[in-house]
């Protein structure tokens, strides 16, 4: 938040904008993106979140080399590390050490570090792509509702209400539970991931939809849209050339904030046992196994921390982004 004058509200007369405009020449003429970037650069915490996000993406993208450097293949068994009777890792702290950085899993002795690194890939992939699905559906629905208004808006509003009233998690579980294992030319993990992306994305669009609708409503009343309309521009032209470009900033901001929500959604589904099929590692899936082995701190903590750090980083970055684009929306 960089609004210069915010004196617990009492100096509201000295409005931030007047100062910004007055501070004048330096800032005038710069695009909203540039201003946002300037604000963001000053927000150390958000930048920290952003750096972690970038690191996580790098980890996910380069998971294979990282694993081959520091760990073992995530599916490889190391039952020599396991006590045959209790099925728990023989070593202290879950077998943590140079060989297995974060210890090994009970029963089969798979390397926890490698599985967490490999899990990053799934979490981020689903988080990102599901968000894209939500953004596409949400933007189309929001723009259509906001731009055309009237009964179209009414119907879309009702649909959003239905989604809000849905016990979504229960529903998603039911849906994933009865889904077939082949289809759309995909099978196995590929189909499963595609399905999770679609289901999570499909259930998360109303939040974006509402925001886009609101923004479109206000954009529709602006002069430049009026001007374009009075010049006889077609709906398509106005939507794509006038409305959508102006929606990019809010969409970007709320998409960033939706990613962590979707990552949590995926983790919850995996936790409840309806995520990706084993043995492909996911953080939620690891946590659900940890329930049975709750006495092993390394097995409970590391996947949980992985989720926490990822979600927190996205939240920090998204919050900063939002403040940068619209300080008063906070």
């Amino acid at each position: 938040m960089t609004a210069p004058l915010d004196v617990s509200g009492s100096a509201a007369e000295a409005h931030p904008e007047s100062v910004l405009v007055g501070a004048g020449k330096a800032i005038q003429g710069r695009s909203l993106t540039r201003i946002a970037w300037m604000r963001l650069r000053r927000d150390k915490i958000a930048l920290g979140g952003g750096v972690v996000v970038v690191l996580l993406i790098l980890v996910a993208v380069f998971s294979s080399p990282i694993i081959s450097l520091f760990g073992h293949p995530p599916l490889e068994f190391h039952q020599d590390q396991i006590d045959q009777n209790t099925l728990l890792p023989k070593g202290t702290f879950g077998g943590m050490g140079a060989e297995h950085l974060l210890g090994v899993e009970p029963v089969n002795g798979r390397d926890v570090f490698s599985r967490i690194v490999a899990g990053a890939w799934i979490s981020l992939l689903i988080g990102f792509l599901a968000t894209i699905v939500s953004v596409i559906i949400g933007t189309v629905m929001g723009v259509v509702a906001g731009y055309f208004g009237g009964w179209v808006d009414q119907i879309i509003g009702r649909i959003m209400d239905v989604f809000l009233a849905f016990p979504l998690l229960v529903f998603a579980i039911a849906l994933v539970g009865v889904m077939p294992n082949e289809g759309f030319g995909l099978e196995g993990d590929g189909l499963r991931i595609a399905m999770l992306i679609f289901i999570i994305g499909f259930f998360s669009w109303p939040s974006i939809g509402r925001i886009v609708r609101g923004q479109t409503l206000s954009l529709r009343e602006r002069e430049f849209v009026d001007a374009a309309r009075s010049l006889g521009a077609r709906h398509g032209y106005i939507l794509f050339r006038e409305v959508l470009p102006n929606l990019m900033a809010p969409i970007l901001v709320y998409a960033t904030l939706l990613i962590p929500t979707n990552i949590l959604f995926e983790a919850a589904l995996s936790f409840l046992g309806v995520g990706i099929n084993p043995p492909t590692p996911t953080w939620g899936g690891m946590l659900s196994e940890a329930v049975r082995f709750y006495t092993l701190p390394h097995f409970v903590l590391f996947p949980g921390l992985a989720i926490f750090i990822t979600v927190l980083a996205f939240n920090l970055f998204g919050d900063g982004l939002r403040d940068a684009f619209d300080p008063r929306a906070h």
Partner: protein, 337 residues
């Protein structure tokens, strides 16, 4: 006002119909795409080593041989007019609203749901009280001391709070406080309020706090944002200019306006929660509606799934209606028409 309520109720019923159709579709149409026959569906619900004759009998009895539309119609009829259940030695009436009989237990669904409501209600109400109190007070204090150490600390904690999945915090809390320190009861502990209120509260303490922490984080963030916005409003300046004491300015003029938009959110959150706190109940193995829903889905017990989904959706619908009515009371600018 009355017409508004009636209109909203009609809308709510329409919404529930849509939800019930979609649920029904998921459980009947999707498996049929996958090639399930009535016998295959029926064989889910019989004991092991059932003969083909048994399976055919069960398929007939559960009505799987009828078209989906007829099956759905029967479900709706049961809801509206009640249904009859042949228990062998006689026929039992299941009065409306009859959500049918569980395929697995053969018991009517509704009493089972009613049975589990107190658990979820207790969980939701207790947690709601905690998170509203904690979230709002922290949010208000943060807003008033903006930029202070308290503000940074509490907002940092809140952001961490919204980033922690409840099945992780729940598990950690159980491991530490129940299995480690032995301060709190283990997962699954539940005592009815009417049996022993102290034990009831003691058993729910950990789930309450964990669940409340998650929501309190969100509410603290929103309260703070709302407070900051409100305290910058012109009417707050007016109130100060009148010579009103600062605490009265905050409470009478600031808080009321800042919290009103939270009412809607609270309605939906609370409505969703009393329909089943799936993750919390799973983590703490509490025998509430959320756990019921998960078990029903695992067992593919359609009448139970339909029952719990509709009840849950019904709660949200009712909660949002109540909230909208309350909103009109709180904010005189809102007209119900």
């Amino acid at each position: 006002m009355v017409t508004y309520i009636i209109r909203r109720l009609i809308g709510a019923v329409a919404m529930l119909i849509v939800i019930s159709m979609v649920t029904f579709g998921i459980f009947f149409v999707v498996p049929q795409w996958a090639g399930a026959t009535p016998e295959a569906l029926a064989s889910r619900y019989v004991g092991r080593a059932a003969t083909p004759e048994t399976v055919a009998l069960i398929a007939e009895r559960l009505g799987f041989n009828d078209p989906v539309v007829v099956q759905y119609g029967r479900f709706v009829k049961g809801l509206v007019a009640g249904a009859e259940y042949d228990y062998g030695a006689g026929v039992e009436q299941c009065p409306a609203p009859c959500f049918g009989y569980s395929f697995i237990s053969g018991q009517p669904v509704w009493p089972d749901l009613v049975d589990r409501m107190p658990v979820t209600f207790s969980l939701a109400i207790g947690a709601a009280i905690l998170w509203v109190l904690a979230g709002i007070s922290v949010g208000v204090l943060s807003a008033l001391r903006r930029g202070s150490f308290f503000d940074r600390l509490s907002m940092g904690t809140a952001l961490a709070g919204v980033s922690l999945p409840i099945f992780f915090t729940g598990m950690i809390s159980l491991v530490v406080f129940s299995y480690g320190l032995g301060w709190t009861p283990p997962g699954g502990a539940w005592t009815d309020f009417t049996v022993n209120p102290a034990q009831w509260a003691y058993n729910l303490l950990l789930p309450w706090i964990t669940l409340a922490f998650l929501f309190a984080a969100t509410y603290a963030r929103l309260t703070r944002a709302g407070m900051l916005e409100t305290m910058g409003e012109d009417y707050i300046r007016t109130a100060r200019a009148k010579g009103l004491r600062e605490n009265q300015v905050v409470v009478r003029h600031g808080l009321r306006a800042a919290l009103t938009p939270l009412l809607t959110l609270f309605g939906i959150d609370f409505g969703l929660l009393i329909g089943g706190a799936v993750l919390t109940e799973t983590t703490y193995t509490l025998p509430g509606l959320g756990q019921f829903a998960i078990l029903a889905i695992r067992n593919q017990d359609l009448p139970q799934v339909m029952g719990v989904v509709l009840v849950a959706a019904g709660f949200v619908v009712v909660a949002s209606l109540v909230v909208d009515l309350l909103y009109a009371v709180v904010d005189p600018r809102v007209r119900l028409s």
